[in-house]
């Protein structure tokens, strides 16, 4: 009886260990191959891809060849100087579209930028997927880059990636 009990104990421990390791690989598609640093690098260097008119005063027009990093700097400088952030809604939507295209399937992006001169808990700009949840998550991967404007303002751009939450679970 003692031998049988020990055998069953060993069997259960081994089965649960190998079951957990194989299940964890299946439950997290995309986690192993997503590199937020690589995604942020190609995102900032890419062009916006289409012309956009910013309805600010004076009105600004962004060319399709303009790089995302330059457009981000224009937007952050405008917001920092007291401009209305709502006029950049279409540009932010374009940024989110690019991020969703290059993120691994099942991953949700969040782009946050801060002014280094200001408090770090007051982001200048937030571009997020609607499925991104605001509570503290343990499975977030992040990368950051710094950018300097012509007015010598330094901004920290952070890209966070997390497994997408099902839409029906967001309100819970």
């Amino acid at each position: 009886m003692v031998f049988f009990a020990i055998a069953m104990l060993v069997t259960n421990v081994c089965s649960s260990y190998f079951g957990q390791t194989s299940a964890s690989g299946l439950d997290s598609p995309g986690i192993g191959r997503c590199d937020p640093g690589m995604i942020l690098g190609v995102f900032l260097e890419a062009s916006v891809g289409r012309s956009i008119v910013i309805p600010s005063s004076p009105e600004a027009e962004l060319d399709a060849k303009d790089q995302v990093s330059d457009c981000l700097l224009v937007e952050m400088e405008c917001i920092e100087n007291g401009g209305d952030s709502l006029v950049f809604a279409s540009l932010n939507q374009l940024f989110l579209g690019i991020l969703l295209e290059i993120c691994p399937p099942g991953m949700s992006p969040l782009l946050v930028s801060y002014s280094v001169a200001r408090l770090i808990d007051q982001p200048v700009l937030i571009v997020s997927d609607p499925t991104w949840t605001t509570y503290e998550r343990m499975d977030v991967r992040a990368a950051s880059a710094t950018m300097s404007s012509s007015e010598q303002h330094v901004y920290l751009v952070v890209l966070k990636l997390a497994p997408a939450t099902l839409p029906e679970l967001i309100d819970i």
Binding site: F4, A7, V10, S15, S47, A64
Partner: protein, 148 residues
């Protein structure tokens, strides 16, 4: 004449003990077989992932021009992904593709050395890179390799 049934009784009394011992031994053997299969499968997947990473890195290095600038979409479209990956595949089967995600979606090139896809175990790797299109727009291209 007395019937000696003590030996038969002893045998049947020992049967449950023997069954418990046999069940314990069989469960240990089955666990050992299961564990060894899982370990060998994990090693196989790790090796396939390493080969896939090696192939996708080789593919990306073939895209980049020697002067260190951005590759062009025209150059990527003309890449022979099958030949490049075959030289790095270490005898494994593979499928490779270069896909543009931004500003539009386009399958730039693809290649494979097998008409059949991966049966069970496979390793995969992806890399993102920027490339110039004909109009001077900087696109985002993904290099993707599956090895099995």
């Amino acid at each position: 004449m007395r019937i000696d049934d003590s030996g038969v009784g002893g045998f049947f009394e020992d049967l449950p003990v023997m069954l418990f011992v046999l069940a314990g031994i069989s469960s240990l053997i089955m666990t050992g077989v299961f564990a060894s299969e899982e370990i060998s499968r994990a090693r196989e997947n790790e090796e396939l992932s390493f080969i896939a990473v090696h192939m996708v890195d080789g593919l990306v290095s073939h895209c980049r021009p020697v002067d260190g600038g951005l590759p062009t979409l025209g150059h990527i479209r003309q890449l022979n992904t099958t030949d490049i990956c075959r030289s790095l595949a270490s005898g494994r089967h593979f499928a490779a593709a270069m896909i543009m995600h931004h500003p539009g979606y386009e399958l730039l090139c693809q290649g494979s050395d097998s008409v059949r896809g991966p049966a069970c175990d496979a390793g995969s790797a992806t890399r993102l890179l920027n490339a110039l299109d004909e109009n001077g727009v900087i696109a985002i291209v993904e290099a993707r390799v599956v090895a099995w």
